[in-house]
């Protein structure tokens, strides 16, 4: 036994640990995997190209100043106006309403799930919240249009309801959709706060609620902010609910939550479904509004990713 080791050592042949064959087939497979990963970058590039390509033509006819400052939006009308502010305000109203519903609901649910709920309860409630997230938005939109809006109007007949549509109710419905997103991201953030912080607070005599609100929530703050930003970004991009409940009419600047309004997404959806000529200025508006929408959501997502990463750096 030992002699063979000695002979191997004294032998002139050096054993190489490299593979005996070059394995070209394997390199091909790995190249394919790399291409699969790169396709996602290609998709982003394609989105940017698709959105940017018609813009030079569009902005050569409509001045960029008019696009961002004029207060009437009526492409395709008899006297078309191309001020994007009304539909941006429409989106903003929906997002603000949605967040004012979803932030308290989502954050309270997250605090309960992460700090209070026994493991069994948690295991039941989380999938149920995922169900809410998985309900198709067209279903939520129809429910909000046929039941929720009439129901809220029935409860509050003194409010100035006008027409079939309501921006405020659209915002509430969008808010319900983003509750699971906010609660799951915030829950993850709070659960990754180290135990030692909680134990320390308990040792100093703090009660459960004090620990949750004064220790865990501040410690997980950047993760919670990321949850809010992701929720807002999702609300900006929500289409079907807004299209159904807030309607796609009313190109006027309108701040009334009890009437309908047009948002950026609803404009794109309603415009693209009609028969419009390719290359016409109305066709180009889809891309101009789409580019604005993409820029806004991209900025929000980048912000959320930064918040999440900063949070990870602190505790990992």
């Amino acid at each position: 036994m030992s002699s063979s080791v000695v002979s191997a050592r004294s032998g002139a042949r050096r054993v190489s640990l490299r593979a005996e064959h070059p394995h070209y087939g394997e390199k091909v497979i790995i190249a394919f995997l790399f291409i699969a990963a790169v396709i996602s970058v290609a998709v982003t590039t394609a989105i940017v190209l698709a959105l940017l390509q018609p813009l030079p033509r569009f902005f050569s006819e409509i001045s960029i100043v008019e696009f961002f400052t004029a207060t009437e939006w009526s492409p395709g009308f008899a006297r078309p106006q191309y001020g994007v502010i009304p539909i941006v305000v429409g989106t903003l109203m929906v997002v603000v309403t949605a967040l004012s519903v979803a932030i308290p609901l989502g954050l309270l649910s997250a605090i309960y799930l992460s700090e209070y709920a026994p493991e069994g309860v948690r295991k039941t409630i989380k999938p149920i919240l995922e169900v809410l997230e998985g309900i198709p938005t067209v279903a939520v939109g129809l429910f909000a249009f046929f039941w929720l809006r009439p129901f809220i109007e029935y409860l509050t007949p003194w409010l100035p309801w006008g027409g079939l549509f309501s921006t405020g109710v659209a915002g509430i419905a969008v808010g319900l959709i983003i509750v699971p997103l906010i609660s799951s991201v915030a829950d993850d953030a709070m659960r990754s706060v180290p135990r030692a912080l909680r134990e320390g607070a308990y040792a100093l005599g703090a009660g459960k609620m004090r620990v949750a609100l004064r220790v865990v929530v501040p410690a997980a703050f950047s993760g919670i902010i990321a949850a809010f930003v992701l929720g807002a970004s999702r609300a900006v991009g929500e289409t079907m609910v807004v299209l159904l409940v807030a309607g796609a009419g009313s190109p006027q600047l309108n701040f009334n939550p009890f009437e309908g309004i047009q948002t950026m997404t609803a404009y794109i959806a309603s415009r693209a479904t009609g028969e419009i000529a390719v290359g016409s200025i109305v066709y180009d508006t889809i891309f101009a509004v789409g580019a604005l929408l993409f820029t806004i959501t991209l900025a929000m997502n980048m912000l959320a990713i930064r918040f999440v990463n900063r949070f990870r750096e602190v505790y990992d």
Partner: protein, 313 residues
Amino acid sequence: MSDSFNKLPARSRFAAAGAGLVVQNRFASADNKGKVSGVLFLSVMLLALTISLVAITAILAWAFVEGRTRLDLDLIFNGPSTVNRATAGFSVAIQGTLQIIAGVIAIIIPLGAGAALYLEQFADKTKWWNRLIELNIQNLAGVPSIVFGILGLAFFVRAPFNLGLVAAAGSATIALLVLPTVILASREAIKAVPSSILEGSLALGATRWQAVWLQVLPAAVPGMLTGVILAVARAIGEAAPLLLVGALTFVTFPPNFFEGGYSALPVLIYQYAGRPQEEFQILAAAGVLLMLVVLFVINSFAIWLRARYERTW
């Protein structure tokens, strides 16, 4: 502890209990008002959760109450019709959705699994392009679905792919929309396989790809499959991007994947709901219920799959 406490003479027991009370009062007084507000806070949290649960129940209840008179076989087997309002159904849209889903699955399984395997097993994280791919996938997951509709309109319907307003264009659009979530889920599934499995295989002389293909991938398949199924569930309900790539055309004949108009279940529901006649609104609600039932079955299957094959290493 309580046993030995009970064996003590009564006097000592009283003394100990008194001391305990004093200590308790002493420390509780600091958080005394916390008691009331603690209960209050707990009930507010439970209320918040209840609202979400009520919302789910209300949506189901609405779809059932409004649509119950149309829960018949016509709903599935009849095509859309403006004449026979009472017997119109979703058959054409269901076929459209099935075709779209088949295309989505064919696209997302190789691309999703491939990208996830590359990023988890082969990518050198110090290289900038790999970090770019990762950041890009994270961002892509947050792009609004309607923007994917614009992408589909500009790239698949028109040049360079020039497919026209057909089911294939809808399928490709939806596939790209759900791809980031499939990649993220697949990565989680691969990450959950301990590196000792890979290392053991490598130590026995397997090449990197053999180890990944024969050891890591089989262990990760249930998790990846769960991701694919959830993506399919999402693809079934997506309506917004399909509006832009032609699903809103009113068709009464079964779709062909590469030519002619097509329809999809959520889009036809939206279309029916927009009609003024009450029959169509009832039909829309019945369609919602049908879609929710299908999604419920699919999601339950995914949860079952995850529970059945979940391994703790």
